[in-house]
């Protein structure tokens, strides 16, 4: 178990990785990656039972990235927890890389399922959780969803299925940053009141600040302790969190920093003068 302070330090590195790798690729999705940093660092650092050196270890908990475009944060967290060398991160999106622009499980060990077409991950998490129940195994399924992604109908089908089969080994995490490509989620296609919707689908709902590591750890623990129903963590987040000019700007959904912007971003992440 890492201390909260140590996890916060990893969050800094992961944020910097996201900025650097999308800059190196000159494409990719920094906004919705930066919003999920604390959720992912907490999950891989202290919550999931996994072995980075043995990514196919059968007893591991599984993480399913339903919002596949946020793979920069997944890759960075995987690298920072020992799945592969940090130096490989800058190969993102380049020909021959294991770090595909949207994650491929055939390319990179540790990615459980390929994703990128939105709305599909929660169903997969459910199926895996069903297999765990059938096998009488304690491993759990975690699934990161975007808030805009909830506009996909399949998510709501999967919400019904998880509750119907009482899959208390499923923990969904919604990156509730309020923005999608075309603008404010509530203006594009409203999803509020979100907590009420999940509750009415018979889920246990946990609301928290998605940038507070301690709150995230507590939320995961509450989900783990919840029996007979699936849990969802609705974490309030800021798209582009940690880089001032990216924060709450939808335009940074799928746009990388240029060189000058990257320098400023790294200064903000590490403190001025510590950014290299």
């Amino acid at each position: 178990m890492e201390s909260v302070e140590r996890l916060k330090g990893i969050c800094q590195d992961v944020r910097a990785d996201i900025v650097r790798m999308t800059n190196a690729a000159n494409s990719g999705h920094p906004g919705g990656s930066l919003s999920a940093v604390e959720a992912m660092v907490a999950l891989y650092g202290n919550v999931m039972n996994h072995r980075p050196a043995d990514p196919n270890w059968p007893e591991r908990d599984r993480f399913f990235l339903s919002k596949g475009h946020a793979c920069p944060v997944t890759y960075a967290v995987m690298a920072r927890t020992g799945y592969f060398p940090v130096e490989e991160l800058v190969t993102l999106r380049k020909l021959g890389t294991r770090l595909q622009g949207h994650p491929s499980c055939k390319a990179l060990p540790g990615i459980e399922v390929s994703s990128g077409s939105l709305g599909q991950g929660l169903s997969v998490a459910n199926g895996f959780a069903l297999s765990a129940k059938l096998n009488r195994k304690p491993y759990r399924a975690y699934c990161l969803l975007g808030d805009g992604e909830l506009q996909e109908g399949q998510i709501w089908e999967a919400m019904m299925t998880a509750a119907h089969y009482k899959l208390d080994n499923v923990c969904a995490i919604v990156d509730y940053n309020g923005l999608q490509i075309d603008g404010d989620v509530e203006k594009v296609m409203g999803i509020a009141p979100l907590a009420d919707k999940w509750r009415s689908f018979n889920w246990h709902v946990i609301e928290c600040d998605g940038h507070d590591i301690a709150q995230m750890l507590a939320a995961y623990e509450e989900a783990k302790q919840t029996k007979d129903k699936p849990s969802v963590i609705l974490m309030k987040t800021v798209k582009g969190k940690g880089v001032s000019f990216m924060e709450n700007v939808a335009g940074w959904h799928g746009k990388p920093c240029n060189k000058d912007e990257m320098k400023q971003a790294l200064d903000e992440i590490y403190g001025k003068g510590n950014g290299q």
């Binding site: 399922v113 994703s115 169903s123 997969v124 199926g127 069903l130 297999s131 059938l134 399949q154």
Partner: protein
């Protein structure tokens, strides 16, 4: 001689029950059509390994993918038209791109759900499943072969689409016949022309063979139960040895078995090909045999195509 008739979906149901007894990892999913698809036969015997996902085909495919990741062998079952249409993106992105061990059963394939009309007739499923990397596509010709194909699908690793029919069709293969995925079966030898068919239309092709024989034409009949991977050896031999090919599809002409055969031949051994199938149109309601007659998918149509393609052979 009058043959027993059974729907190929019955073969699927029998196979599931057998698999349930022999392989504890086999899981069956359905989307509220368990009685129609025969998956309820499995449900009755193995209720703990059967999951109704409700009327949500996309979620069913994703759930099956997750089960496969957990080491299970899921059979996701519903009508062919729905799984191949509505859930195609889930089949593509989650199942095929990840190359997961998911089996997909499409019941009521072709126009075997005739009375339900065009919404329930699956005429594009073979084409859209065939173009997916990693996917295997199988159309069993009768209930006996359907059972063997289902058991073979459970034994192979990777995504597999199986198409079954609603209507009872002649049972003309034997329990003892060898079934191997990807290995076509020559049902009748012949030297003048080859008719390549899949699914219950193989029986019509055999009837066409008999009619042609009466006119002194020697027609080879190939049961291409596995549309993908195509048995290229069998197709090449047929092209070289008979010089003319007729394909028959209970599907749109574009992209089906005929398309697969033509794609292969055009770059390996071009010979005249006549493709019999649905000509870029939605059908209507009617009994399957009425539709087959109206839309020209019965033995006499294959005979006409055979004569036409023989006439096109280089003199």
């Amino acid at each position: 001689m009058s043959l027993m008739t059974l729907p190929t979906r019955d073969g699927y149901g029998h196979a599931l029950v057998e698999l349930g007894a022999t392989n504890p990892d086999v899981i069956v999913l359905d989307a509220d059509l368990a009685k129609s698809t025969r998956s309820d036969w499995f449900q009755a015997k193995y209720p703990d390994r059967f999951f109704d996902i409700g009327i949500s085909e996309q979620d069913m495919i994703g759930t099956a993918a997750g089960l496969a990741l957990g080491g299970k062998i899921p059979f996701a079952t519903t009508y062919a038209v729905f799984v191949a249409g509505r859930a195609w993106d889930q089949v593509r992105t989650t199942v095929c791109y990840s190359n997961l061990n998911v089996k997909i059963a499409g019941a009521h394939g072709g126009f075997s759900a005739g009375g339900d009309g065009a919404t329930h007739q699956a005429l594009e499923d073979v084409a859209v499943m065939r173009v997916l990397p990693n996917m295997t596509v199988i159309l069993p010709c009768d209930a006996i072969e359907a059972k063997k194909a289902t058991i073979a699908a459970a034994k192979m690793e990777g995504p597999c689409y199986l198409r079954f029919a609603r209507e009872a069709t002649p049972v003309f293969t034997d329990e003892g016949d060898v079934f191997e995925i990807g290995k076509a079966i020559v049902m009748q030898p012949g030297t003048d022309v080859t008719i390549i068919a899949a699914g219950p239309l193989v029986y019509e092709a055999l009837l066409a063979h008999d009619k042609l024989a009466q006119e002194g034409i020697s027609a080879r009949v190939i049961n291409m139960h596995t549309v993908k991977p195509l048995d290229e050896v069998a197709v090449l031999a047929a092209a070289k040895e008979t010089g003319a090919i007729v394909t028959v599809d209970e599907a749109q002409l574009a992209g089906g078995l005929g398309g697969a055969v033509a794609e292969f031949l055009v770059s390996h051994h071009p010979v005249p090909v006549e493709m019999v199938g649905i000509k870029d149109t939605f059908l209507e309601c009617g009994l399957p045999e009425e539709l087959a007659t109206k839309y020209q998918l019965v033995a006499k149509d294959f005979v006409a195509a055979a004569k036409k393609v023989i006439a096109r052979k280089a003199k």
